[in-house]
């Protein structure tokens, strides 16, 4: 799903994967229907392009809440997949990468689940590049790498 832009060729084919990959937990008949496959993440987001919190950073940390773990049997499709995957804390970008979602879709779904209390979101520090203590910690952590 790429087009040649006005100023140059598309990126090398290996860099751009097919737009959607399927979550594994859905019923077989839905998995085979290509129209349903393409529509679903957008149906779930009700066609919105602006998420509940449209400033959610791609590096924001996400983890499943206790409410989310309890609600898991009643969740479906992408909501369920995300709640399961986020039992391990990870970033919004990782949610997208591991589940095969476009990062914009991952942001919307994560924001919706956070609003519903199923996920806990930890946002990055405010202006980290001007936080001397934080910079020192990052530097020390990097220096420790062999």
């Amino acid at each position: 799903m790429t087009r040649d832009g006005p100023a140059g060729p598309d990126p090398a084919p290996g860099l751009v994967r097919s737009f959607l990959t399927r979550p594994t937990s859905e019923p077989a008949e839905e998995r085979d229907d290509p129209d349903v496959a393409i529509l679903r993440p957008y149906l779930l987001t009700s066609g919105r392009v602006v998420p509940v919190d449209d400033t959610l950073e791609i590096e924001a940390q996400v983890v499943t809440s206790e409410l989310g773990m309890a609600a898991y049997p009643r969740l479906t499709f992408e909501h369920r997949d995300i709640v399961v995957t986020c039992m391990t804390p990870m970033s919004v970008a990782e949610v997208g990468a591991r589940l095969g979602y476009h990062v914009g879709v991952a942001r919307i779904l994560v924001a919706d689940l956070a609003a519903a209390g199923h996920l806990i979101v930890r946002r990055p520090e405010f202006r980290p590049a001007y936080n001397m203590d934080l910079l020192e910690r990052v530097i020390r952590g990097l220096e420790a790498i062999q």
Binding site: R3, A7, V16, R17, I58, E59, A93, A97, M132, L142
Partner: protein, 189 residues
């Protein structure tokens, strides 16, 4: 707590190699959309055309201590800048602009952009065969790069080399933070 550094540069310069060398997770990829404004203005209504491209966003992660994760996000290798670049650079500690000595001009768009938005960055020449075939001063001249922009060499395949390159970026970030703190103190005096 997450922090991030942007890894920029043209196609095939070694961004994914560099991220792989240091990331503790195998680098992941997610799709992102870049919207760029075409230079051609539509003749009928005067509104510039927008082009939407789906690109791959590669990234890795290093756990620095029990509460701190450093994400390395590779920029999509396009020279058209769109809204995804804002998301990548907002709140970043700095950027590493990787350049191939044989294709210097491919780093210009990234260097221009980071200068424009004031993000600390370092230009790092990737030594493909472990040797520098061009003189760093010639490279600096060819890039019309002022002497206060750090220019280093590194080997994207070697973890300690990538680590040192990232440390150079952080030293720029720290310097800017220090200058900013001094400016604030002057205001209060």
């Amino acid at each position: 707590m997450p922090v991030k550094i942007v890894i920029a540069g043209g196609f095939g310069v070694g961004k994914t190699t560099a991220v792989s060398a240091i990331s503790e997770i195998t680098p992941l990829t997610t799709e992102a959309t870049m919207t760029s404004v075409s230079v051609d203005v539509d003749a009928t209504d005067g509104v510039p055309d927008k082009t939407t491209t789906t690109v791959a966003l590669d990234f890795g992660c290093i756990t620095l201590d029990d509460a701190l994760k450093l994400y390395l996000f590779g920029t999509p290798g396009q020279d058209r800048f769109g809204f995804m670049w804002r998301d990548l650079t907002n709140g970043a500690l700095g950027a590493l602009v990787i350049v191939d000595a044989r294709r210097l001009d491919e780093c210009y768009p990234a260097v221009d952009y980071f200068e424009q938005i004031g993000l600390p960055f370092v230009v790092a020449v990737n030594l493909f065969h472990g040797e520098l075939t061009y003189d760093l001063n010639n490279i600096r001249w060819a890039l019309a790069m002022s002497h206060d922009i750090p220019l280093i060499t590194f080997d994207a395949r070697v973890r300690s080399s990538v680590r040192n390159a990232l440390l150079s970026v952080l030293s720029c970030t720290k310097e800017r933070a220090r200058r900013h703190r001094e400016k604030i103190q002057v205001v209060y005096r």
